[in-house]
Subunit: 342 residues, 2 copies
Amino acid sequence: MNPERTKATIFDVARQAGVSIKTVSRVVNNEPNVRQRTREKVLRSVQELRYQPNAAARELGGKRSRVVGLIYENAQEFSYLNDLFNGALHICEPAGYTLLLRPLTLPDPEITEHIRQFALNARVEGFVLPAPLGDLPEVTALLREMKIPFAAITPRESAPDEINILCNDEAASFSLTELLIDQGHRTIGFIKGHPDHGASAKRFAGYRQALKKHSLPYSARLVRQGYFDFDSGQAAADKLLNLSEPPSAILASNDDMAAGVIFEARGRGLSVPGDLSIAGFDDTRFSSRIWPPLTTVRQPIIKMAETAAGLLIDKLNGSATKAPEAPFECEVVIRESTAFLD
Amino acid sequence: MNPERTKATIFDVARQAGVSIKTVSRVVNNEPNVRQRTREKVLRSVQELRYQPNAAARELGGKRSRVVGLIYENAQEFSYLNDLFNGALHICEPAGYTLLLRPLTLPDPEITEHIRQFALNARVEGFVLPAPLGDLPEVTALLREMKIPFAAITPRESAPDEINILCNDEAASFSLTELLIDQGHRTIGFIKGHPDHGASAKRFAGYRQALKKHSLPYSARLVRQGYFDFDSGQAAADKLLNLSEPPSAILASNDDMAAGVIFEARGRGLSVPGDLSIAGFDDTRFSSRIWPPLTTVRQPIIKMAETAAGLLIDKLNGSATKAPEAPFECEVVIRESTAFLD
DNA sequence: ATTAGAATTGACAACGCTGTCAGCTTGCTG
DNA sequence: CAGCAAGCTGACAGCGTTGTCAATTCTAAT
C-alpha cells in the first residue's frame, strides 16, 4: 500500500509500542540506556508506522539542525561540483542530514560575512569545504571562530582535529609528466593553476620532480601562471608557443586550460598531438568530447565527497574521531592529445 | 559591529516595540490588520535587533515549511543545472525560502515513489520542474495528486492554473536552420533530441518550417533520432555521413550531440566547417571551448529559473495568479562551426 | 453623543520533539 | 534478604513560532 496519508508522530509510535515518547526518542536517536527488548519493540512500531521524525520539531526541541552546508565557488567546473554534490548527498541523506548548497562568487571581499549569514540563517552545523574555499585562511578562521566543524577537500596542511580529504595530486602530476618524457618530449611546458588552490602547488611540484628524476633541465621560461580558466590557458599557450624554442608538449594544471591550449594550437594551425602534445587535469565532462580527446587525470571526487561528508557527520554525531584517511588515488587517463615525439 | 551573538527572538522584538508577539508575527508575515504606525514601529525593532524568524519554530507552529524543491535529471548538462540553480536560489533566498536539490537518475521506474519520499521528508511546498521532469506525465500527475504546486520549465502544453515557463525553441530552431540555408546549404541533416523532452518536438518543428519556407524538400533520411548525449550524436552523424548523398550541414538538437558530430567528422578527416557545417543548441559551457567553437542557441536559463521560482513562490504565498508569461527569447549564437558552402 | 460594525490587538494553546530529572527496576553484594 | 548502584523509563517543561478567538479600539453613521 501507499505510505500513510498522515505522517505518524512520535506519539503514535509510543502508543503502538506501549512506551513513553521519550523512550521512542531514545531509540530513534540511538541513545544508550534502552533495554534491547524495548528497543526492538519500538523499532518494530517505527517500521510499521513508517515513522519519520519531524525535522522542525527536532530542531526546535533539541539543539541540532542536522544541516550540512556545502559552499563552493560558483565559477567552478560544474561536473566537479556535481560529483561533489552527489557524493555528499549520498551520505547526508540516509544519515538524516539536509545538504544545503551555497554558491559564492570569488573573489569576494565580504566572504566571511556571507558565510556567516548563511551559517546563521540556515543553522548550518558543519561545512563541506571544497577547493578553493578550504584554502582560504579567512574562511577556515571564521569557521573555527564560529566553532562550526568542517571537512576540507583540498591539499591544505591539515590541522589537528580538522578533517582533511586529499588526493595525491603530486604523484599524479609526476606520472603525467613522466608519461610525456617517456614519449620522448624534452621541452615540456607547464601552466600553473590558480595560486589560491592548494592543488596548484602540488601539481607543479610533481612536474618538477619528474623533470629532476629524468635529469631534464628546469626552465622557468617553460612555466606560465594560469588561473584554471580557458582564457588563461590560451594566453599561456600563446606565450609558450612564441618562445624561440617552443615546447613539444604542454601540461596544463586543469582541463579548462588544456582546452585553451588546444584552441590556441589549432588557431596556429598546429596539429595536436602531431606538433604538440597536451595534457590536462581533472577529467571534466568535455575532456573526452573535444578533439582530440584529452589525456588527463581523474580524481575520485565522488568518493572524496562521500568521505568528507561521512567524517563530518561522524564528528557532528559525536562519534570517535577516525584516523586520518590516506590520500585518495588519482588515475591518469591516457587519450589522444598526447603522442610520441617523432 | 558584528551581528548579535545570540539571535533575537520574536519575543525580544515584541518587548522592544511594546506590542504582543502576535503582532510582530503579523508584521513579519506581512499580514493585514495591522495599523500602519504599529507596523512601522515593529519593523524598526526588527531592523535594530536584526531579527530573523526561526525557521524550525515557524514550520512547527504554522503549516508552512518554506521549502522549494528542485528536482532534476542527474545526467543533465551541468552548466544548465548551474544556471537553473543559481536563478532559483537568487529568488528563493531573499523570499525566505530554502531551495533543496534532488537529483534523479532516469529512467527510474520508481520515480514517483522517490519524489513522494523527497516531498514528504523534506516537507517540500512547491517544485521547480525543469525538463525533462516537467514532461513526464507521472510526475505532474503525482504532484497534482499530492496537491503540491509546481513550476515547469519546459514546453509542455500548459494546464490552466499551472505555472509554465517556456522559451521559443521553435523559432530559434527555425532561425538556425534558416541561417544554414542562407549559407547555401541544401541538404541539412537533423538530429532529434530525446523524445521525452518537450523541446525536442519544438526544435524539430522549427527545422521543418524553415525547410518549407525556403521550399526545400524534407527527407526523412536526413533526420536521425538522438538522445541528447554525445554518443547518440556521434552515432547519428555516422549514419548521416554514410548516406550516398550526405548532408553539407548537420543541425543537432543540443550541444552534446553536436560535439559528437564534430568528433565523428574529425575522425573521418572532414574539416569543420569546410566540409561540414555543424550547429547545436543550448550554448553549454564547452561549446565555445571546442574547436571549432560551436554555432548554437542560448536560452536565458537564469531568467527562466528566476521567473519559475518567483511565480511559484507567489503562488505559495497566496498572491494573485499572474497572467502567463510570454515565452522567453532564445538567441542564436553564431560561431565558427558553420560556414558558407562554396 | 451613541453605537453597530469593522479594524486592530493580544492571550493562550498548540506544533512534535528533546533535555532534565525523578522514579522505578534490576542485579549484585554483603 | 536487605541495601545499593547501575540500568532503564517516563513526566513534564520548554523550544519560537502561528492559529484561534476573544477583547479592545476605531470609524462612521445615526
